[in-house]
């Protein structure tokens, strides 16, 4: 069945909403900042398990007596599991981890097991940040190029604005909630870029097709018709993807939690943006069948 929801009438409200969210996200990213993990900030991360439950504050006290600088200790999943983060020190101490282990095993009345240790030096973290930024920029540029080749420039701009919208708002939410940004979040953001694009392309494809089919009706009506025609696909794919992601989020363990959360946000925002961000931009540019006519032969399926 084809639903007939008047999306276009809601474009204005949606655009105000999006602009607001977008600006808020930028505001938070500038003034609150992002909570970079050790991948990008450098430092040491230790996931440890104790056989009997100990107080996180006693671990914190023991570590602060070692003069390590900024320390963060928190519970991590199950009882007896903790995550320790130690700030990056200027001088390189190859023995830091064994020193921490000795301190904890000697002073805690519990068996201490280091389940995971990550240590990233300042040079490497700076490089990881740089290559992540390059990767995201390159992904955006590649998408832009692909759409430009496949469609017209108006579509290209529309889709890229939708992508920026998704990436910025996802990162904004991470900033508000102080969630950690690490390498796997970058992977999630890149996948969001791919997914959101995927969604936008499906609607754009239909808009292009309908523009050529119904040359008499306005872009608003064509957009509305196309969104409605593809709506059930948009929803079904979002649902199946979200089902898979929810399964990782709930059952996939602590390490994948941040990643799957970012993806869930991205899928929701991406689905929204293909309808309420990418499509209004075509209206803004007054795209019509004439826009397509010149290149009709090249792009017709």
């Amino acid at each position: 069945m084809i639903r007939n929801i008047n999306f276009v009438s809601k474009f204005k409200k949606a655009n105000i909403f999006s602009t607001l969210l977008f600006s808020l996200s930028i505001f938070f990213m500038i003034f609150k900042g992002l909570n970079y993990g050790i991948d990008f900030k450098g430092g040491t991360l230790i996931e440890l398990r104790t056989d009997v439950s100990v107080n996180a504050s006693s671990i914190r006290e023991l570590l602060s007596s070692m003069n390590l600088g900024d320390i963060n200790v928190k519970k991590f999943g199950k009882d007896g599991d903790y995550l320790i983060k130690v700030e990056q020190k200027k001088e390189n101490n190859n023995n830091l981890i064994s020193e921490i282990k000795k301190k904890l095993s000697d002073n805690l009345s519990a068996e201490v097991d280091f389940r995971r240790v990550e240590n990233v030096g300042p040079k490497v973290s700076a490089e990881l940040l740089e290559s992540s930024i390059i990767a995201i920029s390159l992904a955006l540029a590649a998408m832009l190029f692909y759409i430009w080749v496949r469609f017209e420039w108006q579509f290209s701009i529309g889709s890229i604005i939708a992508l920026f919208h998704d990436v910025i708002i996802t990162l904004g939410i991470f900033s508000v909630l102080s969630l950690e940004i690490n390498l796997s979040i970058i992977a999630a953001v890149l996948t969001i870029v791919g997914y959101s694009m995927n969604d936008t392309v499906v609607i754009y494809d239909r808009i292009r097709e309908n523009l050529l089919k119904f040359t008499k009706i306005s872009i608003s009506d064509v957009a509305n018709l196309s969104i409605n025609e593809t709506l059930s696909r948009t929803l079904i794919t979002s649902i199946t993807t979200l089902l898979a992601l929810l399964s990782i989020y709930i059952l996939g363990g602590e390490i994948l939690r941040g990643f799957s959360f970012a993806m869930i946000l991205g899928v929701i925002i991406g689905t929204y943006s293909s309808i309420f961000v990418a499509s209004p931009i075509l209206k803004f540019f007054k795209v019509s069948y004439k826009t397509l006519e010149k290149e009709e032969e090249k792009i017709a399926p």
């Binding site: 996931e47 390189n92 190859n94 097991d113 280091f114 389940r115 995971r116 240790v117 990550e118 240590n119 990233v120 030096g121 040079k123 490497v124 990881l128 290559s131 390059i134 990767a135 390159l138 992904a139 590649a142 998408m143 692909y146 496949r150 390498l183 796997s184 970058i186 992977a187 890149l190 996948t191 870029v193 791919g194 997914y195 694009m197 995927n198 969604d199 392309v201 494809d205 097709e209 593809t230 059930s232 696909r233 794919t237 649902i239 199946t240 993807t241 089902l243 898979a244 992601l245 399964s247 990782i248 709930i250 059952l251 996939g252 363990g253 390490i255 994948l256 990643f259 993806m263 399926p301």
Partner: protein, 514 residues
């Protein structure tokens, strides 16, 4: 789009079976494997240690520039060039000279130039020359000169790191060069890399030097193992290069762990001469600038065998012997990145990953069946085929599966049905205006084709960029996501389409509901 020739059908199923059969290889018994291929588990799943080491060549460059002082002075003298104010500053040689033009000519001669050799590979001289003003000049390493020094230090370091790690005996270590200054070490299954880190943290430059108050070579003030302040001659009697073997041993009388060593012929000669000439004096054994011990020379040692004692525990003696056997690192190594995952955490991650995969899979399959009934079933068969092919390709490539890689597979499950959803929805639309069912399916498939391709190529682009720029576990995600897209396209467009055609063509006259 619904007509398949027999050859087409045969080809589709052959490709499917050929690829997916490989996924079975992962379940075969390790000992009698038919084809020894399987998906490797990343360090985050099987447990182990990842170390990124960086060579610190600053001291080496200082040493190298120092070694240029004598040849350059010699060159100046031989050609009657007067120089003054000769000094070393920031790894540069600076001096004033009366005829810089003549020096420049000599300095950059390609023939038999021992002072400043020409490096053919880079088409550059080892050293560079800069005129500061009319008479003052400075000499420093050229860009490629530095690169050559770094390269050879890195190659040598890799060799020595390999020897040390092999000597400790971990299973299947990976040791690779990364860029111009780094060495990547992967040690699967290793729970605590503490010992390896200690072993790699030492350059292990061993020197034998006399304890002496006045030496024409100058002295270093060092503190002995007992806290005694000693003056040690800078002259090196013999260095670790002359060692051919070193083993931990226990001295009988005191039951004290020691390290016995064997010298090569040249070393034995040097050592013999030094110990003969200096009976009664003390000989300091210096490792990386620290005294291990400084025993008395009681009698000449000419056999080429010796022993180092120094209040060792047995472990320390074993490690020292290992370090001496493997040779000295040309530069210190810094650990710039370390990631270690314990085997039990890896196991937990696999379990959690597999459970969420199964649950996600069941949810998606259930949803698709509810939504599309018989065609949902086809989409689900395509999904299962998709997974089999995905694992099959991972097996053929012997790819490394990481935890994010498992997430990539689950995500593929969620997104894979998209291709079929796009097609089915399109067919639904066509069915509304089209009277012939077969025709509706046919146009549905052909019209959805472009969209399906467009949509998947965008995700593929993201995956490729992730693969190129991502590191470690993230690469694993990019691999499964990327391959997942390709298998998705195959299963949706060939396998599912063929299954659909069977149903549609059989029910020709009846109403087909989708």
């Amino acid at each position: 789009m619904l007509n398949f020739t027999k050859i087409n059908i045969l080809l589709i199923y052959l490709i499917f079976f050929f690829i997916s059969i490989f996924s079975a290889l992962n379940f075969q018994n390790k000992n009698n494997a038919i084809i020894d291929k399987k998906v490797n588990l990343g360090l985050d799943l099987q447990g182990g240690s990842y170390l990124l080491l960086e060579i610190d060549s600053s001291s080496l460059i200082e040493e190298k520039i120092q070694s240029k002082v004598i040849p350059i002075k010699k060159l100046l003298k031989e050609n009657n060039l007067e120089y003054s104010n000769f000094k070393i500053e920031n790894n540069k040689l600076k001096f004033s000279i009366n005829n810089p033009e003549k020096f420049e000519l000599l300095f950059f001669s390609k023939k038999d130039n021992f002072v400043n050799p020409y490096i053919d590979n880079y088409r550059s001289f080892e050293l560079d020359f800069r005129k500061l003003d009319n008479s003052n000049i400075e000499v420093l390493f050229s860009k490629y000169g530095l690169l050559t020094i770094n390269n050879s230090a890195l190659k040598q370091s890799i060799e020595i790191v390999r020897r040390r790690i092999d000597d400790v005996g971990t299973k299947e270590p990976t040791i690779l060069q990364r860029g111009e200054k780094r060495i990547l070490v992967e040690l699967p299954g290793l729970k605590d890399p503490g010992r390896i880190k200690t072993l790699l943290g030492k350059t292990a430059q061993l020197n034998f030097r006399l304890v002496s108050d006045n030496s024409e070579f100058g002295v270093d003030d060092l503190i002995s193992e007992n806290g005694e302040k000693l003056k040690i001659s800078k002259r090196i009697v013999m260095s670790g290069e002359n060692l051919i073997d070193a083993q931990p041993s226990v001295q009988n009388q005191q039951n004290e762990p020691t390290v016995s060593f064997t010298l090569d012929r040249l070393g034995a000669q040097k050592f013999g001469r030094a110990t003969t000439d200096n009976v009664g004096k003390r000989l300091a054994i210096v490792l990386d600038g620290q005294i291990i011990s400084a025993p008395n020379i009681n009698e000449p040692i000419t056999s080429g065998n010796g022993m180092i004692s120094g209040n060792f525990t047995f472990q320390e003696a074993t490690d020292l012997a290992l370090l001496l056997r493997s040779g000295a690192l040309p530069t210190p190594l810094n650990i710039v990145e370390e990631r270690t995952v314990g085997p039990d955490l890896g196991e937990d991650s696999i379990k959690a990953g597999i459970i969420s995969l199964i649950v996600g899979f069941i949810l998606v399959i259930f949803f698709m069946f509810l939504k599309y009934k018989i065609f949902g079933l086809i989409a689900n068969i395509a999904l299962i085929a998709n997974l089999l092919m995905l694992v099959g390709i991972l097996t053929i490539l012997e790819a490394t599966l990481t935890l994010p890689g498992i997430a990539g597979i689950i995500l593929t499950v969620g997104m894979a049905v998209d291709a079929n959803v796009l097609i089915f929805e399109r067919i639904k639309e066509e069915l509304k205006t089209e009277k012939s069912i077969i025709h509706a399916f046919d146009t549905g498939y052909s019209k959805a084709k472009i969209t399906v391709l467009d949509a998947n190529i965008t995700t593929l682009i993201a995956a490729i960029i992730l693969f190129a720029f991502g590191s470690g576990p993230v690469k694993g995600f990019a691999i499964t996501l990327g391959i997942g897209i390709i298998t998705t396209l195959f299963t949706a467009y060939f396998l599912a389409r063929h299954l659909t055609s069977i149903i549609v063509l059989r029910k020709k006259t009846q109403e087909v509901k989708i």
